[in-house]
């Protein structure tokens, strides 16, 4: 056996997969070759050290800290989903509140009717629609500023209040990093 052939056999021997016949060949080579013998002894030393190393247990309270972290993550997800639902609900409230008022603003009814019934000419008249929309928005803002639409205004205030409330809950429930030592 040549020195170049021994390393692979040493690895197989360490894995317990070297056939007996090859074991004998390896042993006879090691007896005659000092460098290979030294290499084999070093590899065996590594093997002994690694096999003696114990399985380390986690610090006390580890499982409890894991479960607390899982709970927090779940709560955080629930709050995000709840917040999204609340935000969507708020948007619906705003729309429902504004819709009757919008309808009374001159030009908006025509605009909405145009959007609904425009059909094929919608794309062709996109620039006109955009202009009409901007005009309608301007009218709407004027109406809001003059408090001509109290219902819409109240809904807007309600929506803002709900939004701020949600933001407060969301920030309060943000997940926190749990110190590894439990302190």
């Amino acid at each position: 056996m040549e020195c170049s052939e021994t390393l692979e056999r040493m690895m197989l021997a360490l894995d317990g997969e070297l056939p007996p016949e090859e074991w004998r060949m390896l042993e006879s080579h090691l007896e005659a070759c000092a460098p290979c013998r030294a290499q084999w002894e070093r590899l065996q030393a590594v093997e002994r050290v690694l096999q003696r190393a114990p399985l380390l247990a986690p610090p006390p309270g580890f499982a409890e800290r894991v479960m607390a972290r899982v709970d927090r993550r779940r709560a955080w997800r629930r709050n995000v989903l709840g917040g999204l639902a609340l935000a969507m609900g708020t948007a619906v409230v705003i729309l429902l509140g504004l819709l009757p008022g919008l309808w009374t603003v001159p030009g908006v009814a025509n605009f909405l009717a145009f959007l609904v019934y425009g059909g094929d000419i919608l794309l062709g008249r996109l620039s006109g629609a955009t202009r009409l929309f901007l005009d309608s928005l301007q009218l709407l803002l004027r109406a809001l500023l003059s408090l001509a639409l109290p219902l819409a205004f109240c809904n807007l205030v309600l929506a803002l209040a709900l939004g701020i409330l949600w933001l407060g809950i969301f920030r309060h429930c943000r997940p926190m990093r749990i110190p590894a030592n439990g302190q």
């Binding site: 390393l7 690895m11 360490l14 290499q39 070093r42 590899l43 030393a45 590594v46 093997e47 002994r48 050290v49 690694l50 096999q51 003696r52 190393a53 114990p54 399985l55 380390l56 247990a57 986690p58 610090p59 580890f62 499982a63 800290r65 894991v66 479960m67 972290r69 899982v70 709970d71 993550r73 749990i178 590894a180 030592n181």
Partner: protein, 178 residues
């Protein structure tokens, strides 16, 4: 109840069942994280993150595969990523090792020196080689299991382990042998 039942219950959102799985696998997961990261605080954080990821992905767990290998795979891959992201050299936390061993100081002296040495040498290996050594020597994984856990081929894990053994042998010799 057995482990398979706990897994099924945890997949349905049963937190008590998941807590049992955490208790059962906390030592293997923590030990792997510690062996790969070499520092108690970081190992605990990585082990916690492993269980969080396991909980999130429980629905993807294939029951035909051993749960231990699945969770070790999450832990090993997470630690490899973490090692790649951080600074190259890591100091060994000696006090943490002592505490983690859970031994009386007088009894721990001999094991302490071995532990310190093993961990110091481990920290000088690449993340991939460290994972191969850890799975082989602390979990007695076969090459096939190691390949499955690390998401690579049998020949690749063999190559990693052989390279790691030679590196460790050389490092030991450099530090005046055993």
């Amino acid at each position: 109840m057995d482990e398979a039942t706990w897994i099924q219950q945890a997949q349905r959102g049963d937190m008590d069942a998941f807590a049992r799985l955490v208790s059962l696998y906390q030592a293997p997961v923590y030990n792997l994280a510690y062996r790969m990261l070499g520092e108690q605080m970081e190992a605990e954080d990585a082990a916690q993150e492993t269980f969080l990821r396991a909980f999130r992905n429980l629905s993807r767990y294939d029951p035909t595969r051993p749960f231990r290998n699945w969770i070790l795979s999450i832990a090993a891959n997470y630690c490899v990523d973490r090692i790649r992201r951080r600074r190259p050299a890591v100091a060994l936390d000696d006090e943490a090792t002592s505490e983690a061993l859970g031994m009386d100081p007088s009894d721990a002296v001999a094991a302490w020196e071995t532990q310190e040495r093993v961990q110091r040498l481990m920290m000088r290996l690449s993340a991939e080689d460290r994972a191969a050594v850890t799975l082989r020597y602390w979990y007695d994984c076969s090459y096939e299991e190691m390949a499955q856990i690390l998401g690579t081929t049998v020949s690749a894990v063999k190559s990693r382990l052989h390279r790691a053994r030679l590196s460790l042998a050389q490092m030991m010799e450099e530090s005046d042998g055993m």
